[in-house]
């Protein structure tokens, strides 16, 4: 089978994740969008590891996985802290960054 199919599947998943980050106001959903993007990139790594016959790609994917896990822990902690202080986890709410 042409490995490019996997690449295109990864692209689609990535785009959907990106769109979710941009469109969803719920911080948790947006966060899941980010996870989806990470996984899409992982799919690419695994695919090309196979194409090139290099096991290092899978190791990289594993590293991405670990980083993603760490990111999830911190991100969710932030979301909890946010919901504690605001009773709300809408992404539009914290607009102190407004210039």
């Amino acid at each position: 089978m042409n490995p490019m199919n996997y690449v295109i599947l990864a692209t689609v998943l990535f785009s959907v994740g990106a769109t979710a980050v941009l469109l969803r106001r719920n911080a948790i959903i947006a966060f899941m969008g980010i996870e989806l993007m990470l996984n899409a990139s992982n799919l690419l790594l695994v695919t090309f590891a196979r194409v090139n016959g290099a096991i290092a790609g899978q190791v990289d994917a594993f590293a991405v996985l670990v980083v993603a896990a760490a990111e999830v822990v911190v991100g969710l902690a932030i979301i909890i802290a946010l919901s504690r202080s605001r009773q709300n986890i809408s992404l539009d709410e914290p607009s102190e960054m407004k210039g």
């Binding site: 990106a18 941009l22 914290p94 607009s95 102190e96 960054m97 407004k98 210039g99």
Partner: protein
């Protein structure tokens, strides 16, 4: 003792540092430490002098490098001292007169709360002055040159609670800066064309340089000398410098610092040797100042300002002598020494008079003090006779030589300079007699609440010693041309030319002029009562009272254009430079106002922006990849 010469600089410097650092603690002993430091310089100086006398004439130049000072590539200057007959003369003058004035000041400044500070400054001054005369390079000389300027500034403004005194100090400092610029220019020229700024190398290279370069260096040195020695056209600060305590006027503004210009010219003899035009300029400046100082001195009623004008005039004599070239160098230094003694003595006398008259300085308020202040009268009288040039007092020996030397030469020069010098002698006789008569003779003109009295011994003894010097120094040094011979290793041997007039004739004419001057003063100020207020007077007198409008001229020539330039610069700064900066700032702020609208604070907008950016970049990459 020659190898200990560095102590002459170090001891007073250390003493000044100790006193200044000790602050209040030094109030009780600071002045005695300063006197001791000064006395040490006399001992070391005399020791070195005796040792030098024991040497052969040709070996009488002791040079010692103290440390590598500026080891910088092509410009490598070492700090070293050079003790030769010329600097030795200065060392003796400064140490002896300086010590006497230190002693005098102990009594004179007795009631001043900042007496120890005053002594620290005095020590700083003599240290700087010794550095100036002992330096072996122009650069080190410059350090001393600035040091004496600083000390002079500090001492003129010693009573700076009075604003006009502080102004006088500033004036002295600023005018001196112009002269300093001359010295810096001279050093730069030397380095560029002679390759060195130390005496030995610069003088060795001087004969090989072009006349134009040497003339430029000479003129720059002359500018420096004019600033320090209050010569025309930088003379205006000296009169105001009398704001300082009288011992300061005696030491710095009569005997030593103001003569540094003469030292500079004489020391630079090898450079002037190749620049006759610069030498002529020196002589011309001396002649002009000599007459100018005399004219101003004739009209001043302030005893210290009259003496200051006289100082200007006498230094004019020295410059004139120095401007005559090697013929006059020795006479210039000779007159400098005798002048140092008699003028310092007279200043101390004036201080003594002021001390007894509650700091009154207006001579029209003196009169008849001869009987009340006998010591002061006698010592001042000796100084007076000396400056008049009455034989056998010391001024006669030195000044008469200068007048004679001025007549040497050919063409118009001997006539102009000689007659000017001779005329100056007459004027000097008039204004010094006027000063002397107004102070010590005639009826008493002081107010009833003043009680003139003789000063304490600690003041009169230094005056007596200086008076003794005024009386006999000239005779001692002139005997058998001893002084000229002493200086010969520095000034070089010169074939003595013949004056255009016969020497006895010159001497007689001069003495006649002097007698005339004294007589005129006598008739005006002793035979007739002296008005307490300034009488109506001729235009010339009025001009002389105002220092020949020197401040007006300076104001019009320098100050006014300077102020206009400053205003223009301020306006340009505010309108153009600040304007540009401010406009840039407000433009940036305005741009920010526009751009900040993009900052919505919504995270998702930012994310969208990022993604759009990524897409654009990707499009470029894909496009470029094809």
């Amino acid at each position: 003792m020659l190898h200990l010469s560095w102590l002459i600089i170090a001891v007073p410097l250390a003493s000044a540092a100790v006193i200044l650092l000790a602050g209040r603690a030094a109030r009780k002993w600071g002045h005695w430490l300063a006197v001791a430091a000064s006395a040490t310089t006399v001992i070391v100086g005399i020791g070195a002098f005796v040792q030098m006398l024991g040497l052969d004439r040709g070996d009488r130049a002791f040079h010692e490098t103290l440390f590598r000072w500026i080891p910088g590539g092509e410009l490598s200057v070492d700090a070293g001292i050079l003790v030769d007959p010329l600097s030795m003369s200065f060392v003796l003058l400064v140490s002896v007169v300086g010590t006497l004035i230190h002693v005098y000041s102990v009594a004179y400044m007795e009631h001043d709360p900042r007496r120890s500070t005053f002594f620290a400054y005095l020590n700083l001054f003599i240290a700087a002055m010794f550095l100036l005369v002992l330096a072996d390079s122009y650069l080190l000389l410059f350090v001393g040159w600035e040091g004496v300027g600083l000390a002079s500034y500090l001492l003129i403004g010693f009573w700076n609670q009075k604003s006009e005194f502080a102004t006088a100090a500033n004036k002295a400092f600023i005018v001196n800066r112009i002269g300093d610029m001359g010295l810096i220019l001279a050093m730069a020229l030397m380095f560029a064309h002679l390759g060195s700024v130390d005496f030995a190398h610069a003088f060795a290279a001087a004969p090989g340089a072009s006349t134009g370069v040497l003339t430029a260096i000479g003129l720059a040195l002359l500018l420096a000398a004019c600033g320090k020695s209050a010569q025309f056209p930088l003379q205006s600060w000296l009169g105001d410098a009398m704001a300082g305590p009288t011992p300061v006027s005696a030491l710095i503004h009569a005997a030593t610092m103001v003569t540094a210009g003469v030292y500079l010219v004489v020391r630079s003899g090898p450079i002037f040797a190749g620049a006759p035009n610069a030498l002529l300029a020196v002589a011309a400046v001396g002649a002009i100042t000599l007459v100018m100082g005399a004219i101003i001195g004739m009209a001043k009623d302030d005893i210290k300002k009259a003496l200051a004008a006289s100082t200007m005039s006498q230094i004019g004599y020295m410059m004139l002598a120095a401007g005559l070239g090697p013929v006059g160098y020795a006479f210039a230094i000779f007159h400098l020494l005798t002048h140092g003694f008699f003028k310092a003595g007279m200043f101390l006398g004036a201080g003594s008079v002021m001390h007894g008259m509650d700091d009154q300085v207006n001579m029209r308020r003196f009169g008849g003090l001869a009987t009340l202040m006998k010591f002061t009268w006698v010592t001042f009288g000796l100084g007076w006779l000396a400056i008049l040039g009455v034989p056998p007092f010391s001024g006669f020996w030195s000044k008469d030589k200068i007048i004679e030397a001025a007549f040497i030469g050919d063409g118009w020069k001997p006539w102009v300079f000689g007659l000017t010098a001779m005329l100056g002698a007459g004027l000097t006789a008039y204004y010094m007699s006027r000063l002397f008569f107004m102070t010590f003779y005639g009826g008493k003109r002081w107010t009833d609440d003043q009680h003139p009295h003789e000063s304490p011994l600690m003041m009169t003894v230094p005056m007596m010693i200086l008076a003794a010097g005024s009386a006999v120094l000239g005779l001692v040094l002139a005997r058998g041309n001893a002084f000229t011979a002493w200086l010969e290793p520095v000034t070089g041997t010169v074939a003595h030319g013949e004056p255009v007039l016969a020497v006895p004739l010159i001497m007689t004419l001069t003495l006649i002029l002097v007698a005339l001057g004294v007589a005129a003063a006598y008739f005006q100020y002793v035979s007739r009562p002296v008005p307490i207020t300034e009488p109506r007077a001729s235009v010339l007198t009025l001009a002389a009272r105002r220092d020949l409008f020197q401040d007006t001229v300076n104001g019009a020539l320098v100050q006014w254009p300077g102020e206009v330039l400053t205003r223009i610069a301020v306006y340009a700064d505010a309108a153009a430079i600040d304007g540009a900066v401010n406009k840039t700032a407000s433009g940036t702020a305005g741009l920010g106002e526009v751009v900040r609208k993009l900052q919505t604070g919504k995270v998702r907008s930012y994310a969208a922006t990022m993604l759009v950016g990524v897409v654009i970049l990707l499009a470029i990459v894909v496009k470029g990849g094809r």
